[in-house]
Symmetry: C2
Subunit: 190 residues, 2 copies
DNA sequence: GTGATTTCTTGATATTTGTCAAGAGCGGGG
DNA sequence: CCCCGCTCTTGACAAATATCAAGAAATCAC
């Protein structure tokens, strides 16, 4: 079992060995150098990538500023879901924050998953529902929490980010400036 | 073709008449009085409802305050997606803001849709991707826009809400207080 | 190592938004 | 028709957050 297969297994739960192998074969490995772009806002988005190692930042421009929407870490998929699934232009730019190793599946190959893995539709559905739910929670946190509370919550649940990612990007994805982030952080440290 | 069938057709695009009829038969009509609850936070969520008429508010408590997550209008579905799809407790309370008429499908009936409508999986997927995308946009608006800009955007795209819905709920779902909403609104009116 | 970049922190200040309190408007029930 | 409850607005003020500018700290290339 390759590493990718292991990861996919972790991700989608129980899969038979031959299913895993079939899925794994549809992904192509590639290396990204720090700063490389995996996706660019406005361009086509024909692929989805599984992150084996490295960190990728998802962002878009608003009023000339880069707004970080999320930072993707190993073990997760990254794409513009709407672009990939609906063949619309990508709304996000995805750039490597570090050197990274990804496994990429094309839209065409993705479409064959249903044939290879009978319960793919079910797995995909659970995946989408999970994605949606995470977004619901994030919105709710913006409706009900202060910057400080959002910081605290994120810190409690994603402490691993803090050593690896430039803090300014975390600030942006939590909806505050780097300065506010720094002050909130200082208050919370001791 | 019943009204529900018409609506479902609008919603999911081209469907054959017999498919439509099959789908329609799975939904049960019911009437809600203003103030009635369709769903309650923490309880089971075994159903999804299509809104024929009326307005429903989706909210949850945070620090004792009701945070309005969304207001659902005729032509759309309402449920706690995670609760319905994953059989987890509902995270939202759904209450009728006006008398309302809904068509409700149970989880069990929902599961039979795949048999009745061959391309249901495809339609469901598009539905979920759309939901996800809307959420992405909403988050981005919180990361990149001021309260005033969020108001303006919402006003431009959902003017119909403003005559029908208590403004305090719109304020909450845009992530501001009723007072701020009122001031922003005044500034924008002339 | 050392200098050059980039990132992070800090301070001063401005702006935005929230809170509290009061009053105005409005609609429904008797 | 009038009162009551609910919603919306307004004002005064407080708190949170942003902005701008500068310096400190960390990181990177050589």
């Amino acid at each position: 079992m390759t590493e990718l297969e292991q990861q996919i297994k972790t991700y989608f739960g129980v899969l038979r060995p031959e299913e895993l192998q079939n899925i794994g074969a549809l992904f192509k490995p590639s290396m990204l150098k720090k700063g490389d772009f995996l996706l660019q806002e406005g361009r086509r988005c024909d692929k989805m990538s599984f992150i084996q190692s490295g960190l990728l930042r998802i962002y878009a421009l608003a009023d000339g500023k880069e707004i970080t929407q999320w930072i993707s870490t190993p073990g997760y998929f990254v794409t513009d879901l709407a672009g990939f699934m609906l063949e619309s232009p990508s709304r996000w730019t995805v750039q490597a924050l570090t050197d990274a190793e990804v496994f990429t599946i094309s839209r065409d190959n993705y479409k064959t998953l249903t044939e290879l893995v009978p319960r793919w539709n079910e797995l995909e559905k659970l995946f989408l529902v999970k994605c949606f739910t995470i977004m619901e929670d994030r919105i709710f946190s913006h409706l009900s929490k202060t910057a400080e509370e959002r910081y605290q919550f994120f810190f409690d649940h994603h402490r691993e980010f803090f050593n690896q990612v430039p803090l300014q990007y975390i600030a942006s994805m939590l909806g505050m400036t780097a300065e506010t982030f720094s002050r909130v952080r200082k208050k919370q440290l001791p």
